[in-house]
Amino acid sequence: MKVKVIARNPDDYVRETKLDIQRVPRNYDPSLHPFEVSREYTRALNATKLERVFAKPFVASLDGHRDGVNCMAKHAKSLSTLLSGSCDGEVKVWNLSKHECVRTFQAHEGFVRGMVVRYCGTSFFTVGDDKTIKQWKMESPGYGEEEEPINTILGKTVYTGLDHHQNDPVFATCGQQVDIWDEQRSSPIRSFTWGVDSFSSVHFNPVETELLASCASDRSIVLYDMRESTPLKKVIMTMRSNTLSWNPMEAYYFTCANEDYNLYTYDMRYLAKPIMVHMDHVSAVLDVDYAPTGKEFVSASFDKTIRIFAKDGGHSREVYHTKRMQHVICIKWSADNKYILSGSDEMNIRLWKANAAEKLGVLAPREREAANYSQKLKEKFQHHPQIRRIARHRHLPKTIYHQTKELRIMKEARRRKERNVRKHSKPGSVPVVSEKEKHVVTVMK
């Protein structure tokens, strides 16, 4: 007779000393782990609820400006430096890790309209309401020295926007026309006009570095190639765009922040129809900035909120607001993809987490694995109604909540009217225009 009975040696299953970790033998046989789907669903539900519990995005407020913050600039090389320009012409340099202001000086008389740090990180440019372009050193002046720009260029008209080329010593300004400047010259090397009297902002494409885009006051967005002598093409929309931001990962996409409470993502090659219309704000959108991954962007609006959208999402995934934060004028997504910086009307710059429930700092390997697992579970079950309900739930200030409802009622009414008109007219006489096409008037070359 041959017989074998299961005989386990406890030494193989119990740890040797108190200082060892416990032994955990594993068997992944599915019959030993029944109810996989239900248990994962319960875990996903718990993870979603915990995410809402830990969603505390506000990190710090940088106090110090004496007038509303008008523009901000990210340092090209350092993650912990931020530059901000305010409406009284003051420029402040902040150290974000200590939440303090390192340097303050009066840069312009009047608003500081635009700021940009040069790609090498050693100097930065500012333009202001006093029709000047000034270049400053990044280092603080030594003891006894005064704050003096390296270079000042006097112009004839007010400059409203500024951006620097990614690798070359070239920058662009916009005001009454879009000018391309070489750093060594005191007059623009090229000027672009297209029958418009004012441009509100200009931005270089970070990937295709020779391309520019600008927002004009005739409700259009104009595309330029620095190497050409005339602008490339322009798209005219139903309402004016305040500013735009290029996708840092995809060369041909840009998102513009429009006055009609929406943001539009365009493919620069096909301007007739935007790729996506991002709707969620209840007032004019003032600024937009992409995350360095190119997958999300953040928008600042006149309605005192900040919203984070996925690059192909029609609605926002997150909304940040505080009672103390008034109209948000400028916004930046930090280059390490973790923080959002917002400058607002009430002279404060606020630092927010990009992922509201994320734990900051160095995570232990098990913590990181648990966080990754929860994230994956939430993604897997995101469409289940109970989980979706909890994940979507956000508290909104009363004004915004009521305004959203009102806008929805208005949209419904317009839609109903269009439907009735179509029903009672000759079939085919009232064509169906999709939401995306509705906002573009024309494309001109």
Binding site: Q22, P30, F35, R43
Partner: protein
């Protein structure tokens, strides 16, 4: 001229995985590929299927590293395994395994019912005349021993070895592992049988007044009380795969219950007499029932079809299925163990043992090759090689866990506790796409918008320069697109015809 002698890898590529092992970890078949134009959906599905396959392959590879092997018993050439006695087996194996065969002589307090805890470490005995004892049977340490001074119908461990439930003459009592009475639940009266659903923390009780009640032991609330209206309920078992309770009745039917419905989910007529015992295997595929008509039947519980029927001269009062598919059936004072009763036709038992009293309770020990038998003379623990699952999962049920590990496990299990609404015949229901709701919502949206947003737009041909947009050319382009749809339909028709035409008929020889 000199030649390079290149050594080639005799086993190129990753190591092959045997097909049956891969099959064990396979969850679902691959989805039908969505339409060519739905790029995003195709991407998502392809990516998730790749990840799933990779996970299955990794799990199958890990199978190689499992430390233990299953037990077996093989007789010599003319020896029948069922003739081998327990004493012979106990002598043939090592001392610690031999010590797993023991008898407890407890003739005073009536026939005993028993239960093993989920880890298989602790044993709970309940005698009919009130004697309740819990023992760590591997080390033979007595944890507690009390006499509840009432008749005991059934005993059951709750989620861990800290608490157990005793169904006494009138009400349901819950005791601590030190024997202290924690709760007396008067709502649960005349309980005859109990089953504990470990992942839902539910104690299901079947009473003599034909009530099936569910108690959530983590919060202490009664989740459901179902009036089954089928008479005295004294045959009960659970399906470990989907947490459905099987009840056997005196009219030969077996009914399946879930706490969400007031009616039985399924009613099956299994036997011509009353049903004496029911058992379901751990994968939830096979159900074994025995009845007063002296038959033992095996059913496929997923398709509700009878598979096999055996004749037992004396019927089986108790049935139990082990983790590896061995069936133990007790008739009178004889216990017989059958191997592979679900897949292959069985002629003789694998093992047999005679006890000193009528068998009252039968239970395989979870991760050991041991069968516990409660009978009129006390308790016997039998050795059944090949019954238990050799490799346990440390995160699920670890017989060697320390107190700290048990506490951590308990917290995690409570956090993952499945709500009773999710109990249904198909445990993977949550993973299915709810097509009906989507269609309803789509219809509502069409009504609201006035047009169907998913409908295909009419094809408008692009205006081409240099005379390529003449009327004839435009018509030609339109025809091309229109014919594409017809082409798809025609291909379908031809495919069906081809399938039919391969079937040969008798008149084929008259066709040219």
């Amino acid at each position: 001229m000199f030649m390079f002698f290149q050594k080639s890898d005799p086993f190129p590529g990753p190591a092959p995985i045997p097909e049956d092992r891969l099959q064990k970890f396979k969850r679902k078949d691959k989805l039908k590929k969505p339409h060519r134009k739905q790029h995003k959906l195709r991407d998502i599905i392809a990516r998730s299927e790749d990840a799933s396959e990779m996970a299955q392959k990794q799990a199958a590879r890990f199978d190689l590293l499992l430390p233990e092997e299953a037990g077996f018993l093989e007789g010599d050439e003319d020896e029948d395994t069922c003739m081998i006695s327990q004493e012979d087996i106990a002598e043939a194996v090592d001392i610690t395994s031999g010590a797993k065969y023991f008898n407890l002589k407890l003739s005073q307090f009536g026939p005993y019912r028993l239960d093993y805890s989920k880890t298989g470490r602790h044993l709970l005995l309940g005698g009919r005349r009130g004697h309740v004892a819990c023992i760590d049977w591997t080390s033979k340490q007595l944890m507690c021993e009390i006499n509840v001074m009432e008749s005991v119908n059934d005993v059951k461990w709750l989620h861990s070895e800290a608490m157990y439930a005793v169904a006494q003459k009138k009400w349901l009592y819950i005791y601590d592992s030190n024997g202290i009475e924690l709760h007396c639940i008067r709502k649960f009266n005349d309980v005859l049988r109990m089953q504990f659903l470990p992942y839902h923390f539910l104690l299901a009780t079947a009473s003599a007044t034909s009530f099936l009640q569910y108690l959530d032991v983590s919060v202490g609330k009664e989740v459901a009380a179902i009036c089954t209206k089928t008479g005295r309920l004294d045959v009960m078992c659970q399906n470990p795969h989907n947490a459905i309770i099987h009840l056997g009745h005196a009219n030969g039917t077996v009914t399946l219950w879930s706490p969400n419905q007031k009616e039985a989910l399924v009613k099956m007529l299994c036997h011509q007499g009353g049903v004496r015992s029911v058992a379901v295997d751990k994968t939830g595929t096979y159900m074994v029932t025995s009845g007063m008509d002296k038959k033992l039947k095996v059913y496929d519980i997923r398709a509700f079809k009878p598979l096999k029927s055996y004749f037992l001269p004396a019927g089986a009062a108790c049935l139990s299925l082990s983790q590896r598919g061995l069936l133990s059936a007790a008739t009178g004072d004889v216990v017989q163990v059958y191997k592979d009763v679900c897949s292959m036709p069985v002629t003789k038992p694998y093992m047999a043992h005679r006890l000193r009293g009528t068998v009252w309770g039968l239970h395989f020990c979870p991760f050991e090759d041991v069968l516990g038998v409660g009978h009129g003379d006390g308790f016997t623990s039998m050795l059944v090689p090949g019954a238990g699952e050799p490799n346990f999962d440390g995160l699920d049920a670890n017989p060697y866990r320390s107190a700290k590990q048990r506490q951590e496990w308990e917290v995690k299990a409570l956090m993952e506790k499945i709500q009773p609404d999710l109990i249904s015949l198909d445990p993977t229901e949550l993973a299915q796409v709810d097509q009906a709701t989507w269609e309803q919502r789509h219809q509502d949206r069409v009504e609201v918008l006035g047009f169907d947003p998913l409908a295909k737009e009419k094809f408008v041909p692009k205006y081409k320069k240099k005379g390529r947009s003449s009327a004839g050319a435009i018509e030609r382009r339109k025809k091309q697109v229109a014919h594409e749809e017809q082409r798809v339909k025609r291909k379908e028709r031809e495919r069906k015809k081809a399938a039919l035409s391969t079937q040969k008929s008798a008149l084929d020889r008259f066709k040219k």
